[in-house]
């Protein structure tokens, strides 16, 4: 079933009786060539690219709950490729390019909207740092533009430019960044994978790995044993729990990140804006709600909810940046469990168990990486070699001293 304008028109004439579920709901088969653990954005994207780019069949995605029930449905939907370090920037730019062609490719409206991101700076030193990052972005082909106060006032006049402590000196803009509909991304990948023969198996919790002479043979699940030639784990948030079943300790702590949305308002904020003097980012959804968030709570957590001190902190940062925010009523707030890695960067790598692969450690930036993460993980699973943009995301980078630490905070996950 292909979506098109004509199809919508034809269905309107038939009273919308011809629409069908977007994917099957199959029972697990006894064995597969590839089993992906985790039916979130990254797992579904991995299965999609395994089937479409690498031509593989006999692929299954195992999901404990329902598809897209984890962080892909809980994030603040920002897509961007404005990184500094050589290990990161080409990867995120690869992701940005995939975002740009994604909807045409999988024939689904993911509402990718390249409305731009502006990272504000508040000191001369911060301007220098942002200029350097902008240069790194341009080297990777991501594009960047340094904005002065006059440029900003024309684009976003409602900010508090002359805050006594944090006057806005300018901003670094990536015009190609923006937002996407997070659930739509999961559904688009799920539908695309299903159309190419991938079995998406829901309510199927992995309870163990069967390993024989150092090679993975399959997974034990709540719906029985499933044999697999290769197993890829993409369960960010629960990476520690799942990989502990394979006897691994990870360079990851699980933390809770909160997000917020206000009542629907008329179009107010043109793109994504981030505060440079605190941790705060805000955008406006197509429905009109202001979507914003800030820091993680800062202690290990598997609860999908946070505590009030961070709510206060986020609200304070928001009020410092754009005082009009105080007039909007908060509709909802929620939390998601994120993999905070030891250097703030992800891992896409093989493990010490043959044919068991791991994808995780996305900190609070996994959503923007969804297409490239899926592509790179599929590449690793299918070819045994890392994708050229994901070569730095190895487990052994910590032991070798090749950490990718954008923040420069060291091995302290709650500071990244």
């Amino acid at each position: 079933m292909k979506f098109s304008g004509f199809r919508v028109f034809a269905e309107a004439l038939k009273g919308h009786t011809g629409w069908r579920p977007l994917w099957r709901n199959p029972d697990p088969k006894p064995s597969y060539d590839y089993v992906i653990v985790g039916g979130g954005g990254h797992g579904l994207a991995t299965a999609y690219y395994l089937a479409t780019k690498f031509g593989l069949s006999r692929v299954a995605v195992l999901e404990k709950g329902w598809l897209g029930s984890g962080n892909v449905g809980r994030n603040t939907t920002i897509i961007r490729s404005n990184y500094l370090l050589a290990g990161n920037e080409p990867f995120y730019e690869f992701s940005m390019k995939l975002w740009e062609g994604l909807e045409q490719e999988f024939n689904f409206n993911a509402m990718v909207s390249q409305r731009g991101i502006i990272n504000l700076f508040h000191t001369d030193a911060q301007r220098d740092v942002f200029r350097r990052r902008g240069n790194a972005m341009m080297l990777a082909g991501a594009g960047a533009r340094l904005l002065g106060r006059a440029d900003l006032r024309a684009m976003v006049p409602f900010l508090n430019y002359d805050n006594a402590r944090f006057p806005i000196k300018g901003g670094l803009m990536q015009q190609r960044a923006g937002t996407a509909r997070h659930d739509g991304v999961a559904w688009g990948y799920a539908r695309g994978a299903d159309n190419h023969g991938v079995d998406l198996i829901q309510n199927c919790e992995v309870t163990g790995f069967r390993v024989d002479r150092g090679k993975v043979r399959g997974v034990e699940t709540s719906r029985g044993y499933i044999a697999a030639d290769k197993v890829g784990v993409a369960v960010a948030g629960s990476s520690g729990r799942v990989m502990a079943m394979a006897g691994m300790r990870l360079p990851i702590e699980s933390h809770v990140l909160q997000a917020f949305v206000t009542e629907g308002l008329k179009p107010t904020i043109p793109g994504v804006i981030t505060f440079g003097a605190g941790h705060f980012y805000i955008s406006q959804s197509d429905k009109g709600g202001l979507v914003f968030g800030g820091d993680i709570d800062g202690y290990n957590s598997y609860a999908q909810r946070g505590n009030l001190p961070v709510v206060e902190d986020v609200a304070e940062a928001g009020m410092a940046l754009m005082p009009m925010l105080g007039r909007a009523r908060l509709l909802r707030m929620w939390g998601g469990v994120v993999d905070m890695s030891m250097d703030g960067s992800p891992i896409i790598d093989r493990t010490h168990i043959e044919d068991l692969y791991f994808n995780g450690g996305w900190c609070y930036g996994g959503f923007k990486a969804t297409p490239a993460s899926g592509y790179a993980f599929a590449h690793l699973l299918a070819t045994g070699a890392p994708h050229e943009t994901a070569r730095a995301y190895r487990f052994d980078r910590f032991a070798r001293g090749h950490v990718i630490d954008e923040r420069g905070a060291g091995a302290q996950p709650n500071l990244h």
């Binding site: 520690g240 502990a244 300790r249 702590e253 202690y299 290990n300 957590s301 598997y302 609860a303």
Partner: protein, 96 residues
Amino acid sequence: MLIPHPSLGPRDAEEFTYLGDSRLLDRPDPNAPDAESAFCDYVFLRDNPAGVHRELWFHEQGDRSWLVVTRDTVTHQVLGAEMARDVALARKGSGA
């Protein structure tokens, strides 16, 4: 979250900063032959359990003591707190 400080009573978690797993008290022996890999594990790897977790909190806005807090990472329930100094000395005394 309220943290039951052994000498100050219940204190708001906001007064504290968080370091992580209390296994960080067990610094490896730098003179051991496997010190390099032991320190790599010590610095970078974590158990990261879902459930009861013993972790280091620093009472930065209070008496500046280090505590070992026992807390459930699934419910955020704080189950107890001890002075980290006492925990470390007890481990040293037992030869562990």
